[in-house]
Symmetry: C2
Subunit: 589 residues, 2 copies
C-alpha cells in the first residue's frame, strides 16, 4: 500500500461537516429552516469498474459505485428522481430501514410496492426520513443488489436534537461481497435444473473496495497472495480511516452482502455498540462485531492505543466455511504515515461455525433504556418454518412449504383495487406440522410455490416465530437474516431447536431491541413482535439475495384500503396496468 | 465427428411433411380448411447452452436455442402468446420480413411499434403471413438478438399453389455469429468512453451450432485446432445435411448475425439462387453465396456429384478481416456414412475484401420475370449519409449527422395520439452537405443525437439513396446491410463514390429485385425505392446489432392516423402509458 494521498476517508470535523451539509442543501435541497426537502437526480447504469482490482461490470448510479451517499436530517423529505439508463432491464430502489409511513408505494420493492421502472423512464421516490440512524439503499428486482446497486443513507438527528452518545468524528463502512460471475449468470444457475449454486464470494468489499489478486497484509498471510502495490487512487484501493489519538469516532457499519455473514474487528481496539438499524442500544463493548446482511450498527471507537502505530480493520466471513480472504483496511493514527503497516497480523475472525460466539453477541443487543417497549400481548402469532426444498427438480427455499413466487402485479396495487386474479387469495399457512423434525432433512422435500399474502388487521400486534430447520443435506442448517419492510420489530429472543411452550417465558418483553433485520441461527428459532401500524404491502424475507430469489420470503399486508395517493406510475404494469388501460377504452381506440 | 445418429437434419419427404404439419395443426392450431390460425405459446428465458461447445448463457425460447421454427402457409394467421420469463429484462420479438399489413403494433420493435413486454407479462402477437418465403424472427430490444433470441419462420405457398421451381426436399440453415462475452458486457463497452468494440465473433453458427475449441476439418487446417470428437447429440454438433443422389434440394439460408457478413459454399456443388427475402428471383447459378445480416435466400442444390463421397458446407466471414474460423457442416450422400470425411479441404471463402466478388454477386440478383415492377417515378427522395462519429467522447454512427436515440414511448403510440413531447418533432435532414467528402474521415466528427422521424405521405413512392462514407479512421469504410420494416423495397442499383446525377440513368427500373435488406458497399451508394403503403411507424436501420445500438437507424412513418385497434398493452409505457393512466384519474385514487 502506498501513501494515503487522495480518495481516502477522513473523519469530518463538525465545522466542516456543517459546511458540507450547507453545500449539499444549496445544491440539492430547497433551503428552509427545520425539515428540508432534499432532491437527488440519479441515473442507474452499468459501468466498468474494478471493485476488487479485477475489472467487471457493476450497476452504478451517476457513474459511481457504490451509489452516492444520501445524508439528511431526521424529519427531512428525500426526493430521488431515478432514471433508468439500462438498456433492457427494469430497476427499483429500496430504502432499507426507512419505514415509509404514508408512502408504501415508495418502498422500492418490485412486485410488492411498485412496478419496475422501465428503461428510459424516470420515477420519483418521495419519502420522509423520520428517525436518525444508519441506513442504506439497494436494488430490489431480481438480484440487482448483487450487481452493485447499493449505497448509504445516513440520517442525522434533527436540528437542535442530540445523539445519546458523544463522538468527535465519524466514518462510514458499507460492507458487501463480490463475485466475478455476472449476476445474470448467477440467476440462471439458481433457476436451473440441475441447480447451480453461486459459490462463495471472490472478495469482501468495504465501501465498494476490496483486493482479489493481492493482499494488504501478504506478509502475515499463509496464502500465496502477494503484497498489494496500490497508489491509493485506484477504484480498489482501501479507504483508510485517518484518526487522531485520544478521540472517539463513530463507525457506521452496514452490510448489504448478497450472501456472507460478516465479523468486523479492529486490531487492539474495542468497540462500543450503540445503534442497530436506526435504534439506540444499551451500549456494550466488544472485541469484534457480527453483522448479517441487512443489518446496520454504529460503534464507538476510542483511539487510545499507541499512536506511533497503525492498526488493521478486518472483516471476515461467518456461518459458512469461508473461501474468501478477509476484507482489510487500516486505522491510521495521524501524524503517523498511513504507509506504515501494523507490526502484527490482522485480527482473526472467530471460527466460522462458532455459533456460541455469535449468539453471545446477539444476546447482548438490548434497547437503550427509555426506548419503546413492546405490547405485552400479541393478537396473532405466525410460525414460519424455513426449509430448503425441491420443486419439479428445482431447488427452492420455502416458508411453511410455500416458496414465494412474486406476481407481475404489485401487491399494493392488486390489494388496493381488489384484483383477485393477481395473486393467490388464500392466506398462506400460519404454522407447520407439529411433528415436523427440524433436526433432519425434510422427509418429503417437495414444496409448492405460491403468491399468497398474510393479511393483517391494522394496528394489531403480531408475533412471528421464525423456525429454522435442517436443509436438504444431512447436518446442514444455515443462517438466515430476515428483514421486514415498513416496520421495525422487537427481537424477543433466540432459542435452540423447535420453539415450544416452555420457551414462552424466556421471551424478553422488558428491553428487547427494535430492529428491521434479525437472524435465525442453525437449528434455532427467533421470536419477533411488531405492531402492524403502517398501511401497505410489505416484504418480509431472508436478506440473502439468492435465497430470496429461490423463494425465501413472505408478504405481510395491513390496511391497504387506507393507502391513498399511490402514483399511477407505480402500478402501470400487470393487472393494475391493464385495469388503468381498460377503464379508459371508450376514449381511444 | 462421430456417426450421425440423433439430432441430425434430414430432408423431409412430402408425405412425412404433411403428417408433421397435420400434427402441428392438431397441437397448436384451430383446424379449418384454407387459411389457418396457428397458435404458439412461448416463454423467453435464459438457458445454459453450448452453441460452440463452450458453455454460455443464451436467450432461448421454450428451453430451446435457437427458438422453435414456425412453419405456416401463405395466408395463415400466426398467434404467438409470448411470456417474458426473464428476471429483470423486457423483451420483444420482431418478425423479420413479415410486412405486418394492418398490424404495425405486431412488428416487435421496442420504442417503435410497442413497449417492451415486462418480466412476468404475456403479449399476444397476431399477424398474417401473406406471402411464401424464408423468414426469421429475433429480439429487437437492446442487443437481445446477439444474446441468441432468434429462430426461423418459414412460409409455404398457400394450399393449391406452387413454387415456381421444383425440389425434392429442403433444409433450413439459420446462420449467426457468437461471442463468449455476455451481451450485457458488450453493450456496456459500446456505450462507454473510452469506447470498447465487441471484436470479431468467437464462432459462426449454423442452426445455432458451431465448434470453438475444435475443428470438423482439423486435418486440412493450418491452425492448431484439433479434430472435433462429437457423438452427434451435443448441442454444438453440426446438423448434417443427409441427401440422396440425383435429387434437388432447397436450402433456406438466412443470416441473423450480429456483425458478420458471410459467404456460404458447398464443396464441388453449384447453387442456383431462386428466392431472396421472400421474393422470387431470376434463377442464377453461383459457386458461393454472399449473405449479409438480415437477408435470406433459397438456393437449389442438385446432388449430382460422386455419391460415394461427402462434401463440406462452409461459411466464412466477408467484409472484415476475419478472426473467426469457418462454420462447417457436411453434405452427406446417403447411404455413404456421415462419418466419412471429405478428401479435400472445405471451400475457401473469397478474400474478405474482394468487394468485386461481392458486387458481382449482388448485381446478379434480379426479380423473376412477372414480379411487380417499381413505379417509374418517385415522389420524394431521401439521401442518407452513413457516418461514424464522436459525441461527447462516445463513438456513434449517424445518418445525416443524427445518431438515433430511441425514445421511451413507441413512435406508433406517440404519433397516433399526437404526443409531441415523445420525440423530436422536426423531420430529420433529407440530405447532407454537397461538399461532404465521402472518401475521407469526417472533418468535424462531432454528431448530435435525435429521435426525429421521417413523416411520409401515405401511398407515395419514396427513393432512398444510402450513401456510404469513410469511417473515423483513414481508409476505412464498412459494409452496412440496411433493413426496412413493414415493406419491401426495390434495389435499383449499387454504385461507387458519391451518388450523382449521372448515376440516375444507371438505375434498374426494369427488373430490380424486391428485398427487405440491402447492403451498402464501402465508399459506395445503394439506391432503393418503395411505396409507403403500410400505415405505421417503421424502423429502417443497419442490421449490424452494435451499429444499431450506436445509433445507426432512422424511423419512417406513414398514415399512422389510419392505424386502429392497437392493443393498449402495446403502448402501456412512456407517455402513452401516462396518458392512459391520467385520462382515468377521476375513477381511482
Amino acid at each position: 500500500m502506498g501513501t494515503s494521498n487522495g480518495f481516502m476517508l477522513h473523519p469530518i470535523p463538525g465545522g466542516l461537516r456543517a459546511l458540507i451539509i450547507w453545500s449539499i442543501l444549496l445544491c440539492f435541497g430547497r433551503l428552509s429552516f427545520g425539515a428540508k426537502s432534499r432532491h437527488f437526480k440519479w441515473e442507474v447504469e452499468y459501468l466498468f469498474w474494478s471493485p476488487d482490482c479485477i475489472e467487471n461490470v457493476v450497476m452504478g448510479i451517476n457513474g459511481q459505485f457504490p451509489g452516492p451517499t444520501i445524508r439528511a436530517k431526521a424529519g427531512d423529505t428525500i426526493v430521488v428522481e431515478l432514471t433508468n439508463k439500462l438498456s433492457t432491464e427494469g430497476v427499483v430502489i429500496h430504502w432499507h430501514g426507512i419505514r415509509q409511513f404514508g408512502t408504501p408505494w415508495a418502498d422500492g420493492t418490485a412486485s410488492i410496492s411498485q412496478c419496475a421502472i422501465n428503461p428510459g423512464d424516470t420515477f420519483h421516490y418521495r419519502f420522509k426520513v423520520d428517525r436518525a440512524g444508519t441506513y442504506f439503499y439497494h436494488g430490489h428486482l431480481g438480484m440487482q443488489r448483487s450487481a452493485g446497486l447499493y449505497g448509504s443513507l445516513i440520517v442525522d438527528v434533527a436540528e437542535g436534537e442530540k445523539e445519546p452518545f458523544h463522538y468527535d468524528g465519524e466514518f462510514n463502512l458499507l460492507l458487501s461481497d463480490w463475485w466475478h460471475n455476472s449476476v445474470h449468470e448467477q440467476e440462471v444457475g439458481l433457476s436451473s435444473n440441475p441447480f447451480r449454486w453461486i459459490g462463495e464470494p471472490q472478495s469482501l468489499l468495504m465501501n465498494g473496495r476490496g483486493q482479489y489478486n493481492c493482499s494488504l497484509a501478504a506478509q502475515f498471510s499463509n496464502s500465496s497472495a502477494t503484497q498489494c502495490k496500490l497508489r491509493g487512487n485506484e477504484q480498489c484501493a482501501p479507504k483508510i480511516l485517518h484518526v487522531l489519538p485520544n478521540q472517539t469516532y463513530r463507525l457506521r457499519v452496514a452490510s448489504t452482502t448478497a450472501l456472507a455473514s460478516l465479523n468486523l474487528a479492529i486490531g487492539n481496539h474495542k468497540m462500543v455498540v450503540v445503534e442497530a438499524d436506526g435504534n439506540y442500544l444499551q451500549p456494550f463493548a466488544v472485541d469484534d462485531l457480527d453483522i448479517y446482511s441487512g443489518e446496520s450498527y454504529s460503534v464507538l471507537l476510542t483511539t487510545d492505543q499507541d499512536p506511533s502505530k497503525n492498526y488493521w480493520l478486518s472483516v471476515g466471513v461467518r456461518g459458512r466455511l469461508p473461501a474468501t480472504p478477509p476484507g482489510l483496511t487500516l486505522l491510521n493514527y495521524r501524524p503517523t504515515s498511513a504507509s506504515k503497516l501494523p507490526t502484527s497480523p490482522p485480527p482473526v475472525t472467530p471460527r466460522w461455525n462458532d455459533y456460541a460466539h455469535s449468539k453471545s453477541f446477539s444476546n447482548k443487543i438490548l434497547a437503550l433504556m427509555g426506548s419503546p417497549r413492546p405490547p405485552t400481548k400479541y393478537d396473532r402469532r405466525i410460525y414460519l418454518l424455513n426449509t430448503q426444498n425441491k420443486m419439479n427438480g428445482y431447488t427452492k427455499w420455502a416458508i411453511n412449504n410455500v416458496s414465494l413466487a412474486l406476481p407481475s402485479t404489485p401487491y399494493l396495487g392488486s390489494m388496493k383495487y381488489g384484483l383477485k386474479n393477481a395473486f393467490d387469495q388464500k392466506n398462506p399457512p400460519e404454522n407447520f406440522a407439529d411433528n415436523y423434525d427440524v433436526m433432519s432433512p425434510p422427509i418429503n422435500p417437495n414444496t409448492t410455490s405460491g403468491s399468497g399474502a398474510y393479511m393483517i388487521a391494522l394496528n394489531t400486534t403480531v408475533d412471528v416465530i421464525l423456525q429454522n430447520a435442517n436443509a436438504l443435506s444431512d447436518n446442514v442448517s444455515e443462517i438466515h437474516p430476515w428483514h421486514l419492510h415498513g416496520h421495525d420489530f422487537w427481537v424477543l429472543g433466540y432459542g435452540e431447536g423447535k420453539f415450544s411452550d416452555k420457551d414462552e417465558k424466556k421471551l424478553n418483553l422488558k428491553n428487547p431491541p427494535l430492529r428491521n433485520t434479525a437472524v435465525i441461527f442453525p437449528y434455532g428459532w427467533t421470536a419477533l413482535r411488531f405492531v402492524a401500524d403502517n398501511p401497505g404491502a410489505w416484504a418480509f424475507h431472508c436478506h440473502i439475495e439468492p435465497h430470496l430469489h429461490m423463494g425465501m420470503g413472505v408478504v405481510f399486508a395491513e390496511g391497504v384500503h387506507r393507502v391513498n395517493k399511490i402514483p399511477r406510475e407505480a402500478l402501470a404494469c400487470g393487472l393494475t396496468g391493464k385495469m388503468f388501460l381498460n377503464n379508459n377504452d371508450n376514449n381511444h381506440n
